[in-house]
């Protein structure tokens, strides 16, 4: 019996080996090198303690990018979660038709960023379609991409892209709630709003955590739209950490980049570990 188990051990590792080798080679070992670099001076390669960390924490570009990223996450994630939940509840009730509409909302996931970039350009240029519409409605047009309004364009495109993804997740959660509970509540005379607050929402709480984390991680990809529409240095209001990292990389500022990468990794790691206690993946 014991011998058998040990044999099983080796087989499992064999299956894993090609993948694990690649992960170590391409991610883990070089990350240790990044960690070392973050603690040494870029010129002399000598131990520099936390000097790089101090310097980026006092760097105004870093502060701006952090602030914008936090603001973006703070505005977008709660709105995305709320809107997608609302839509999911409605779509769930609509049955087959809801399924078709869900496809429509999921559709932006399939639209390549590069194709979207063109649409965004024509929409949000100073003399673009959106301003033309605003003008006709009697509102004041805005130079969307070159003013603080750029931030809201970014939020809008994140919501647009991720709405379907979150709806699918919420609907999966909703389908796990037994219909008998709803029927019983209706028999007892509970209204729709009360049912939502007392039954639906509490049952979805466990999914809320996972959906928030996934939405947070997907938020990093908003850089794609931002970059393709506005380039390396967009309006200050949408200058994100991703822009800053990209620019540091291009300028070969590896000391700053390594310290920044370690900081961001630490923050995300903290978030994941915090979550893992609530959200046990295994078994």
């Amino acid at each position: 019996m014991k011998k058998n188990r040990i044999k099983g051990e080796n087989i499992g590792l064999c299956f894993l080996l090609p993948s694990l080798t690649g992960v170590c080679l391409f991610v883990l070992l070089p990350f240790l090198d990044v960690l070392r670099r973050s603690l040494s001076s870029s010129v002399s390669e000598e131990w520099a303690g936390f000097q790089n960390y101090w310097s980026i924490l006092h760097n105004s570009a870093f502060r701006l990018a952090c602030w914008n990223t936090l603001r973006f996450v703070g505005v977008c994630i709660p709105s995305l979660l709320a809107i997608s939940l609302l839509l999911a509840v409605f779509l769930q009730r609509l049955g087959r038709l809801g399924g078709i509409l869900k496809t429509a909302f999921l559709f932006p996931m399939a639209i390549p960023v590069a194709s979207v970039a063109l649409v965004w350009r024509v929409l949000f240029e100073n003399s673009g379609l959106w301003n033309s519409l605003l003008c006709r409605l009697g509102a004041v047009p805005e130079d969307w991409m070159n003013s603080p309004a750029a931030f809201w364009v970014l939020c809008g495109s994140y919501l647009w892209k991720n709405l379907g993804y979150d709806i699918v997740l919420w609907m999966a959660g909703l389908s796990g709630i037994p219909t008998q509970i709803y029927e019983a509540a209706q028999v007892d005379g509970a209204g729709e709003w009360k049912i939502f607050c007392k039954i639906t929402f509490p049952s979805l709480l466990p999914s809320l955590y996972t959906i928030s984390v996934l939405s947070f991680l997907n938020s990093f990809k908003v850089f794609r739209e931002a970059y393709l529409v506005a380039g390396d240095y967009p309006n200050e209001s949408m200058y994100l950490l991703q822009h800053l990292f990209n620019n540091w990389f291009r300028d070969l500022s590896f000391d700053k980049l390594s310290a920044g990468a370690v900081l961001v990794a630490a923050v995300i790691l903290g978030l994941i570990l915090l979550l893992q206690r609530i959200w046990n993946w295994e078994e």
């Binding site: 080796n10 690649g22 194709s115 003399s127 673009g128 647009w160």
Partner: protein, 279 residues
């Protein structure tokens, strides 16, 4: 019945969400002259606003012909995208499926630690691993070759995790009976694991395609030579003066993704759900 009232909001919203595609499609089917007339306020930085029509006044396929005949570089980039995406997906399957099987079906030392590690790596954004990848790729002289984009993506841990969820849900009883019949562990994986976990594999492929057809960050950082770029980076560089080509190019880029989306939508949804909610 009251729920049906919501359709008055939901239908227009759904239409709005899908409208960018409609917009691209109309633009690509317009006569180039008509198109540049509508877009002239942007092109000339002049007064007035861009105009648009839902149905082209003079529909024509001239932009498509132009793309086909006059833009050899577009097809070079298209081919780049196809090659990069295909190699990444094949690699992810070859490396990822066995790894997922190993995690799902065997007990070994450090299994839990390694799995947590994979999970953490799956959740890290590109910006965190950018410098690490660069350092390795540079040391083995792969920077500025398409392998610099392909190799790190092959070892992405997300497909492993996704396939793990599906392999894990195969009932133990089926495998037990198979163990009595066939010989080696590898044969069981090939003959029973892969077919029974095929939904997971297709999900990983669909999600992987949509992700890798859209690569921006990686080629931007690792490919200096623009002839190696995938479509996703090249397309936005087309000047709006050649608006017809820009629109048709966008539509042609969209088509493969659309095809994958429509034929694999069930798997896409399964994949999204499997990553988040315990099965």
């Amino acid at each position: 019945m009251r729920w049906k009232l919501a359709l008055f909001v939901l239908l227009p919203l759904a239409f709005l969400v899908c409208s960018p595609v409609l917009f691209l499609l109309t633009g690509s089917l317009m006569d180039p002259g008509e198109l540049s007339q509508y877009l002239s306020p942007i092109l000339s930085q002049g007064k007035g606003y861009v105009a648009w029509r839902l149905v082209p006044q003079s529909p024509s396929l001239r932009s498509y012909v132009e793309l086909l005949l006059d833009s050899p570089e577009f097809f070079a980039m298209f081919w780049n995208s196809v090659r990069i995406t295909a190699l990444i997906l094949v690699g992810q399957l070859l490396v990822g499926a066995p790894a997922a099987w190993g995690f799902a079906r065997f007990q070994f030392r450090f299994r839990k630690t390694l799995f947590t590690l994979y999970l953490i790596l799956m959740l890290m954004p590109f910006q965190v691993t950018m410098l690490s990848s660069f350092l390795v790729l540079d040391s083995i002289h792969l920077i500025n070759t398409q392998w610099s984009v392909i190799l790190p993506a092959v070892f992405s841990t997300f497909p492993v995790f996704l396939m793990y969820r599906f392999f894990r849900s195969i009932p133990e009883a089926i495998l037990e009976s198979a163990k009595l019949d066939t010989g080696s562990a590898f044969q069981i994986f090939l003959n029973i694991g892969l077919p029974l976990g095929s939904a997971g594999i297709v999900s990983a492929l669909v999600l992987g395609f949509l992700e890798n057809w859209n690569l921006i960050e990686q080629p931007l950082a690792f490919l200096k030579d623009k002839t190696l770029w995938p479509l996703s980076l090249y397309l936005p560089n087309i000047d709006l003066a050649k608006a017809g080509v820009a629109f048709t190019g966008s539509v042609v880029t969209l088509l493969p993704a659309l095809l994958v989306f429509l034929s694999g939508q069930d798997y896409l949804e399964q994949g999204i759900t499997a990553a988040a909610i315990k099965g």
